[in-house]
C-alpha cells in the first residue's frame, strides 16, 4: 500500500510522467482535457507530491530554517508566529531549531539547516555568540540569511532589530522627568547588541539631563528574576539609587520584589521601568512601566525580507529598525 506517485497517475491514464508533472504544475504546454483528467486521477488516488524528489530535482527546497535561542520565550514565540503567518501562505514551511543560548548548539543547528538545504534562514543569536565566523558557512553556500533582534553588523544581509536605543532612552528620560535622579541600570551581557544598545540609550538620557554616569549603578548579568532580585538588594544596600531601569521585565520583577522586601515602595521610594512588555507587566502591582517591542512586526518584516531575497534576488535594506513604544504605567510615577 504505497503512496501514489505521478507515475501511478501516468500509468492509469496512459500518458507519461512528464505530462502529469506538467499538468499538475500548471504548465501551459498541456491540454485542458488531460489536465482535468490528471487532476481527477490525482484526487482519486490521494496523490501528494513528494517534496523531497521535487526539491532534489529542482536543487532547492521550500523549507525555511528558523533558529532562535528558545521558542518558549514570549518575544521569540511571537516572532515565530508572525514569520509562519507570512511564510506559510507563500508556500514555505518552517524548520525550527533552538540554541538554548549556547554557541555550540547554534553551530549544530546551522549545520542541520544546511543539511536540509533550507531555502533561507531567519535567526537570532545566542547570548554566547560573540564571534560570527560560523555564519560564514551559511553565506558561503549562498543561503539567504536574515538576522533579527540579536544581530551583528559583521554578518552580511538584512537585520531586523528593535529600536533598543530609543526604547531605553525614552524609558530613562521618562524616569528623569518623573523626578528620579539616581537611576541604576540592570542589564545582560553587554557583548550582545540588544543590551549594549539599551545601555547606550540609558547613558544618552543621563548625559542629556546632565546627570552623572556612575559605574556602580550599572550591573551586568541581571536579566532573570533571581539575579534582578539579588543585584537590586545589593544596589539598595550600597548606594542611594532612587530608580532602576531594567533591560528586561523579568529582572524588573526581581527588582520590585527586592525593593518591597526591604520595606520600600514602588514607585514612591524607587521607580522601576522594564523592557519587553511581557504579558505579566500590566498585571503586576504596581503595574510595570515598560518598553513594548513589536514582535509581530519583527517577524513580519523578517519573513518578507527573506521571501524578497529568495524570489527576487538580493535586496537593498541592510538594517531595519522596528520602533518600540514606552508604556507608562504605575511603577515609574511618583505621586
Amino acid at each position: 500500500m504505497k503512496r501514489a506517485t505521478i507515475i501511478d497517475i501516468a500509468k492509469a491514464l496512459g500518458v507519461t510522467p512528464s505530462t502529469v508533472s506538467r499538468a499538475l504544475s500548471g504548465s501551459v504546454r498541456v491540454s485542458v482535457a488531460t489536465r482535468k483528467k490528471v487532476e481527477e486521477k490525482a484526487e482519486e488516488l490521494g496523490y501528494q507530491p513528494n517534496v523531497m524528489a521535487s526539491s532534489l530535482r529542482r536543487g532547492k527546497s521550500d523549507t525555511i530554517g528558523m533558529l532562535v535561542p528558545r521558542v518558549n520565550r514570549h518575544f521569540f514565540s511571537h516572532v515565530i508566529s508572525a514569520v509562519e503567518q507570512i511564510l506559510n501562505p507563500a508556500g514555505y514551511n518552517l524548520l525550527i531549531c533552538q540554541s538554548y543560548e549556547r554557541l555550540y548548539n547554534e553551530k549544530l543547528a546551522l549545520q542541520a539547516l544546511l543539511k536540509n538545504r533550507v531555502a533561507g534562514i531567519i535567526m537570532s543569536h545566542s547570548m554566547e555568540t560573540g564571534n560570527f565566523d560560523h555564519i560564514k558557512s551559511i553565506t558561503n553556500e549562498n543561503i539567504p540569511l536574515i538576522q533579527f533582534d540579536r544581530a551583528s553588523a559583521t554578518v552580511a544581509g538584512p537585520r531586523i532589530i528593535n529600536d533598543n536605543f530609543s526604547g531605553a532612552y525614552m524609558a530613562v528620560k521618562h524616569l528623569i522627568k518623573s523626578g528620579y535622579k539616581r537611576i541604576a541600570h540592570l542589564t545582560g551581557a553587554l557583548s550582545v547588541n540588544v543590551y549594549s544598545e539599551r545601555y547606550r540609550g540609558y547613558r544618552y538620557a543621563l548625559e542629556e539631563a546632565c546627570l552623572p554616569l556612575l559605574e556602580e549603578y550599572v550591573l551586568e548579568e541581571a536579566i532573570t528574576k533571581e539575579t534582578g532580585f539579588e543585584r537590586t538588594r545589593q544596589l539598595l544596600e550600597t548606594t542611594e539609587t532612587d530608580a532602576i531601569f531594567c533591560a528586561g521585565d523579568f529582572s524588573a520583577i526581581g527588582a520590585i520584589q527586592a525593593i518591597q522586601s526591604l520595606g520600600m515602595k514602588v514607585p514612591d521610594d524607587i521607580g522601576v521601568v522594564g523592557f519587553a512588555n511581557e504579558p505579566f507587566a500590566e498585571l503586576l502591582t504596581p503595574k510595570l512601566t515598560t518598553v513594548e517591542q513589536n514582535a509581530y512586526d519583527v517577524g513580519n518584516k523578517a519573513a518578507r525580507a527573506l521571501i524578497k531575497i529568495i524570489e527576487k534576488g538580493s535586496l537593498i535594506t541592510e538594517e531595519e529598525i522596528i520602533p518600540v513604544r514606552l508604556l507608562v504605567r504605575e511603577s515609574s510615577i511618583k505621586f
Copy 2:
C-alpha cells in the same frame, strides 16, 4: 561554486560514491584507511550530506511534523521546546505548523506535513476540531501520530494528556474546603476534551460534597480575559456566586478584575481558581491559585513515544495521563 557531494569526494579519492557513502555512514564493509581518507576529504570540501537525496532514496525522512494551535502560547511553546530537546539529539528535525485554532488550517497543515513525508506527527487539535476524519489521511499513510493535550480517542495512537479531571476536581474540592459553597465555572467549548474533562471534575467535586449543580453557574465561551470579565459581571449580577473555578488563567484574570470592579474582594468575598499556571499567575494580586500543567513532561513523553513507534515499531500505551498539581495561593483562601 556548487556544494560538494559524495561524488566529488569519490572522484578526488579515486573510489566510487558507494564506498564514500558506506564510509560516511559507518558501514563495516569499508577499510579503516579509506574511511579516514574519506572523512578527511569530506571535511576539506566542507561536505554536508543532502538529506533530500538521502530521504528520497531511503523512503523516509528524519523530519517530525508538529502541529499546534499557536506557538505563542505558554503551554504549547513549552511543549515544543521539550519535544525539540528530545528529538534533536536523536537526529530529528522539527517542522512546525500552526492551526490558529481553525479546522481549515489544521487540514492544510496536515497536507503540508504529508507532502514533506515527515517521519511522524505530534499534534494538538484546534478548538474547532470536532470531527476527526481528516486525520485518516495520516493514519492511512501509516505515519505515526501522537496527540497531546487536545486529543480524541476516536483517533488511533498514543495520547499524552494532562489530568484535567483531577486538576479540576482538586481545584473545586479545595474551594469547597475553603468554605465556598456556590461555585461557578467559566469554561471553553465543551466539545473540546480538555474543557469537558475539567467540567467533569468540577461536577464530581460538587456531587461529592453534596452541593447542587446549577445550570446558571456554568458558563461556556469564557476563556479570554475579556470574556472572563463579561461573564463574571453577568454572573455576579444575576446569581449569588461566592467562588469561581475558571478553566484557564486568562479568564481568571478577567474574573478577578470583574469582581474588583464591582467593589468586591478576592478572596474574601469571592474565591477564584484558575487553570494552567501561566507565568503571571503568581504575580497577580492576589496571587492566583491555579492548576499547574507539566508542559515539559507532556512534550517529553510525546517525543519519546513517537521515537519508540518510529524506531521500534508500534507500541502499547494508548493514553498517558500526565499528573497536574494544584498550586494553592492567595485567591482562594478566605481569611
